[in-house]
Symmetry: C2
Amino acid sequence: MKEYNIAVVGATGAVGTEMLKILEEFDLPIKNLKVIASPRSAGKKINFKDKEYVIESVQKGTFEDIDIALFSIGSGNSKKFVPQAVYEGALVIDNSNAYRMDDEVPLVVPEINSEAAKEHSGIIANPNCSTIQMVIALNPLKKKFKINKVLVSTYQAVSGTGLKAIEELKEQSKAYLEGKDIKPKVYPHQIAFNAIPLIDKVNDNGYTEEELKLNRESKKIFDDPELKVTATAVRIPVVYGHSESVHVELDNKVDLEEIQYLLSSDENIKLIDKPEDDHYPTPIMSEKDDKILVGRVRKDLHNENALEMWVVGNNIRKGAALNAVQIAEYMIKSNLI
Amino acid sequence: MKEYNIAVVGATGAVGTEMLKILEEFDLPIKNLKVIASPRSAGKKINFKDKEYVIESVQKGTFEDIDIALFSIGSGNSKKFVPQAVYEGALVIDNSNAYRMDDEVPLVVPEINSEAAKEHSGIIANPNCSTIQMVIALNPLKKKFKINKVLVSTYQAVSGTGLKAIEELKEQSKAYLEGKDIKPKVYPHQIAFNAIPLIDKVNDNGYTEEELKLNRESKKIFDDPELKVTATAVRIPVVYGHSESVHVELDNKVDLEEIQYLLSSDENIKLIDKPEDDHYPTPIMSEKDDKILVGRVRKDLHNENALEMWVVGNNIRKGAALNAVQIAEYMIKSNLI
C-alpha cells in the first residue's frame, strides 16, 4: 500500500494542534510526518503517535519530499508559503481565506462536493468554519428543494481566533469574577461576559469579511451562483463550538415532518430536537461530537415557504482541522495523489 | 403638588432592586414607599434615599393606601396578587407576562404608545425586555415606512432570569476556570462558556413563549396586527444587556442614509455605527447607558427592501425597571392618577 509524506504547517496553533490529533485518530498511511511552525517554535518538540518530532520552520526545499501539506497559518502567511509548497511538489490543503475564491482552487466540504477536489492545480481550500457547518445543515434540504434565501446570525467561539483568544477569554473571565480591571488585547473590546458583533475586516458595504464568506463560499461549495446568503457574524464568550440561527426560505411550502426526516436521515447531521425535554444543541455538546448538530427546527410563523433552525458545529474540528484531514483522506482513498 | 404612595412588589429581585434605584434617580413626588417581597424576606431592611425601610409581605389591605404598585414577581405570583392590589385601589404596573395580552390592559413603552396607558382598568403591563428594545429601534422606521416583516435572533443576558441565574453564571465560570465539575441548577444546561437556544416554555408550534412574545407584543405596542415578527431567542453567558440581530423588511426600497438619519435623530436611540473603527454596541456598554444602542446598520445583500441591524439594550433597566418607572412617571405627570 502506498504511503504518504505529510506536513502540518502551523502545527502549534489551535487548528494545527487539532490536525495532529485527528491524524492520530485517522488511519491514514503516513510514511513521514513533518511538523512545521514559525521560526520562533522551531527546535521545540511535539509528540505524535508516541514518537517525538522536532518542529521545523520553512526552508528552501522543505516541501520537496512532501505529498500533502496541511496549512493553517492564516491568509498572509499562506500567500507567502503556499506557492513554494506547490512549486516544490506538495498538494496543499489550505485552511486560510487566501485561495478559497480562486477559480482554479476547489473549495471542498467532502460530504458535499468531494468531486470538485479532483480539479485542483496544487491547492485545495478548506472553507471557513461558519460556512462548513451551515452548508452541511443545508445540504439535505438543498438536494431536495430549491433554496431561495438564507439569513443567518452566528454565535461564534473565540477558538476561531486562535489560542491567544482562548487565553484572553479565560484571563478576562477570571479578572471579571475577581472584580479586577480588564484590558482587551486580542479583541478590540472585552469578550468575557460580552458579545462582539464584528468578526474580521469591514467591507465598504458594511458587511464583514466573515459575513461575506458565508455568502460567497456557500455559492461555490453548492455550485449555485443563485444561492443568496445574508449574514450577521457575532463573537460570544464560548471557547469551542460555533452556533448559528438560520432562516431558510425554500421555493416551495415547508413540510416540517419532511424537513425533519431529511435532516435526521443525513449521516453528517445529528438532529437534537425535543425542546420540550430541553433537548437541543449547545456549543459545549460539539466538543465531543464531530457531526453537525441541528435543533429548534420549526416553520416560520408568517412565511409558509420558510423555516428556522439552530445549527451547532465544532469550529476547530469539523469547521477546520477535521474537514482538512477529510479532504486529504478523500484524495488518498480515491487514488488522486 | 400632589404626592403619591408607591409600592415596589418584588423589591429584592433583580428588577425590583433596579426599580428602587431608578426611583431614587427619578424625581417623582413620593409620599410614602412600601417595599414588598416574599414572606421569606419580610422583616429585612432596605435603604432608599438614606432612609431605612422594612420589607413587608402582602397582607390583606397592603395596597389600600397605595397609589401606584410596581410589580415584578413573575407571572404566577402576579396572577395571585395583582387582582388584590387593583381591588384595594392601586394602579398596578406589572412587569410579568400575566396580563400583557389582555384586551383591557394597555401594553406600554412610553416613548411609543404612552397614550394607550390612559385606557387602563387598574393594570398597565410592561412589555418583555427583548420586545422593548426591538420596538424602540424599529419605531423611527415604523413612523416613516410600512414594515412588512421582522426576523430577529436574540443574544440574551442571564440577568433576565433573575439574581440566581447571575450567581449560577459566575459560579459555573469560576468552576470552569478551575477545571471543576459543573452541575446546572437554574438552567437545564451549563450556561458558562455556552449558549442555550431556549428561553421560557415551548409551544406546540415549536416556538418558545419568549419568541412568541416578540411577535404578539410588538403588534400590540404598535397597534399593528399586520406586523410580522419571527424570532429565535437564545441565552448567552452575559450578565447584563440583551443583544438582537434584526432583519427588517420594508414595503419599499431601503435608502441607507435615510435609515441612519432616522435612527440617529431618535432621542431614545444611540447610533454607534463605525464598525471600521470598532464602534458598535456591545451588551457591556448598555450597563451605563439607558438608551437603546444600535449599530451594524446595512442593506440586505440580496433584498433591496430589507436591512440588518444590531440592537443592544439594558434588559433590567430599559427592558424592565426603567420602562415601568417611566410609565408611572407618565401617569403622574399627565395627571392620570
